[in-house]
């Protein structure tokens, strides 16, 4: 295939593949704990890191990783210890991060707003070998955490109070989720851009759960959707003059809509079956004490 022959396109596709895998893999825990927009917040904070990278003439990916990790830890601490106005504190962090990025990049000699825009919306054609190495290393880290500790992360994201009583290091695991999300933002920044990073963490998961019933299946399908749209969007941008990040996100949303349309009659049928099921104990004249365990609802 012609698309695979050019070196920059090879790098772009590998980067897209890695982002397609990692973003939903950590995003699923954010969706599970109803913090779907955390990735968006980290994306804003990471802009300061990009600006700092330009100012200090270092690789912006590593600087963005560092700053977004600090930002993510700050957000997690605010969530845990924050009093009533946690949302205000978070807003400060979001907008402070964005403003800091714009300011720093304008102060630097090499950076310009045009450079910043490639980080905001992604710019696959400028992915260098050094970038790819960084992306691959960070992606490996994200997968190690999100797959290796899936049971623990699931428990903590499902019910924090309960997880604490099982003796799991809840605070450490929460921080780990936040840090891993921050790392993922840095991984995905070159491909989809900081402003659209969160979409790739959330939309494939939202799409997958339209038709799944288990966490495991949701995880697998979300990663599958993530990879498909990331690679498809990147390829499209090669043949047509469209920005890859935006194409990837719109494709993901299209998958979400398609699966939702597919799932609606399915869900309706399931609901009808469940309703028919629940009629039985209500209409029965048995008293609670007479019931046998397992004797009530059956599919």
């Amino acid at each position: 295939m012609e698309i695979l022959e050019t070196a920059f396109m090879q790098r772009a596709l590998i980067a897209a593949l890695l982002v397609g895998i990692t973003a939903p893999a950590i995003g699923i825990y954010l969706v599970q704990r109803r913090q779907a927009l955390l990735g968006d917040g980290i994306g804003h904070v990471a802009m300061t890191g990009v600006g700092l990278g330009f100012l200090l003439s270092t690789n912006p990916i590593w600087m963005a990783t560092l700053v977004s990790i600090i930002g993510a830890i700050a957000m997690e601490l605010i969530r845990t210890y924050g009093k009533t106005r946690g949302d205000i504190a978070l807003a400060m962090l979001f907008y402070g991060g964005m403003a800091g990025g714009v300011l720093l990049i304008n102060l630097s000699d090499t950076g310009s707003t045009a450079n910043l825009s490639s980080f905001l919306f992604g710019s696959l054609s400028t992915v260098s070998d050094a970038d790819l190495t960084a992306i691959a290393a960070l992606a490996a880290l994200v997968m190690l955490v999100s797959v290796g500790l899936r049971r623990q992360l699931f428990a903590v994201s499902q019910d924090e109070d309960f997880a604490r009583v099982t003796g799991l290091p809840v605070r450490a695991l929460n921080l780990l989720i936040a840090v891993t999300a921050a790392v993922t933002v840095s991984v995905a920044m070159r491909v989809v851009g900081l402003l659209l990073v969160s979409a790739l963490m959330v939309v494939p998961v939202a799409a997958a759960q339209q038709i799944t019933r288990s966490f495991k299946a949701t995880f697998a399908l979300a990663v599958g959707i993530g990879v498909t749209v990331a690679v498809a969007g990147t390829s499209t941008s090669y043949y047509q003059d469209v920005p890859p990040g935006a194409t990837i996100v719109l494709l993901a949303i299209a998958v979400f809509i398609a699966l939702t349309a597919l799932a609606t009659p399915l869900a309706r049928r399931r609901a009808r079956a469940a309703e028919a099921d629940m009629d039985r104990p209500e209409c029965g004249s048995e008293l609670p004490g007479m019931r046998q365990p397992g004797g009530d609802v059956r599919v």
């Binding site: 704990r33 500790l149 019910d159 604490r164 003796g167 288990s214 029965g284 609670p288 004490g289 046998q292």
Partner: protein, 270 residues
């Protein structure tokens, strides 16, 4: 399961001296914000006992339970679990906790087995779930009568079934002590019966139970001792109050305001 339990242990209102305290709360004080919620609570639960913590909304019963498991810090007083000071307590697999919830679902679909499996992590910790662990999870799901639905999504369940999943999750670690916060809230009569049966089996096997209840309901016959809280103080510690029992009979419509209910109850008890 080789649980030690003196079957001859007298089920009395007063704590039999010499029996091992599983939970001991001594002079516990705690505040939520600036409001004192516990104002010197003493509570001892000994091995094999089933103790109900009763009281009106805001009486501090939930806070007391949350203090026992270390989720609400005490401003004064002491807590010990299985004879170990709470701060040093690490054997969490001995405890099964059912938090106050109306749902077992979260932002992503999960099957009953997946949710219940997380209860086994107190034994597996950061390791994998072994064959024994998985068998224990399946057994816990069987115990609450959801064996044939283990692969179903929890979001497809009724309110009572959600509670049964939460209880199965607590039972997955095969605990010696069950701590339940309002397990009967929003549970239909059929599920209440199943929950009571499950609890009865656990108690018969020697499990110690501390549960927060709004009214006694279907589990009344299982309860050895009731501790009634009012305004963060223990106002009754003894046999389950009769008034509560009748008033909570199935069919009794709970429509009267709590203030009136409360004054009637304390009139009988104090």
């Amino acid at each position: 399961m080789n649980r030690l339990r003196a079957m001859t242990q007298p089920r009395e209102a007063t704590v039999p001296s010499g029996s091992e305290p599983v939970i001991s709360l001594c002079g516990a004080r705690a505040s939520l914000g600036s409001r004192p919620v516990l104002r010197g609570v003493d509570l001892t639960v000994t091995r094999g006992e089933v103790v109900a913590l009763l009281g009106a909304n805001g009486s501090g019963k939930s806070t007391a339970v949350r203090a026992v498991i270390g989720q609400v810090p005490l401003t004064d007083g002491e807590i010990a679990l299985f004879g170990t000071e709470l701060r040093r307590f690490r054997q969490w697999s001995r405890i099964g906790y059912v938090p106050q919830r109306t749902t077992a679902a979260s932002g992503v679909p999960a099957t009953i087995r997946e949710v219940v499996s997380s209860g086994r992590l107190s034994r597996a910790r950061l390791g994998r779930l072994s064959r024994v662990d998985r068998a224990a999870v399946d057994h816990a799901i069987e115990l609450v009568g959801l064996g044939d639905r283990a692969k179903d999504s929890v979001s497809a369940l009724s309110g009572g079934q959600h509670q049964r999943v939460l209880i199965a999750r607590a039972l997955a670690s095969e605990p010696e002590l069950l701590i339940m916060d309002e397990p009967m809230a929003g549970v239909d009569l059929a599920s209440q019966g199943i929950l009571a049966d499950t609890l009865r089996e656990q108690v018969a096997a020697g499990t110690t139970v501390l549960l927060v209840l709004h009214e006694l309901g279907a589990i009344e016959p299982l309860i050895d001792r009731a501790v009634v809280l009012r305004d963060g103080c223990v106002v009754h510690d003894g046999p389950p109050p009769k008034a509560m029992g009748q008033h909570a009979l199935p069919g009794h419509d709970h429509v009267h305001p709590h203030a009136a209910d409360e004054s009637l109850r304390t009139g009988l008890l104090t």
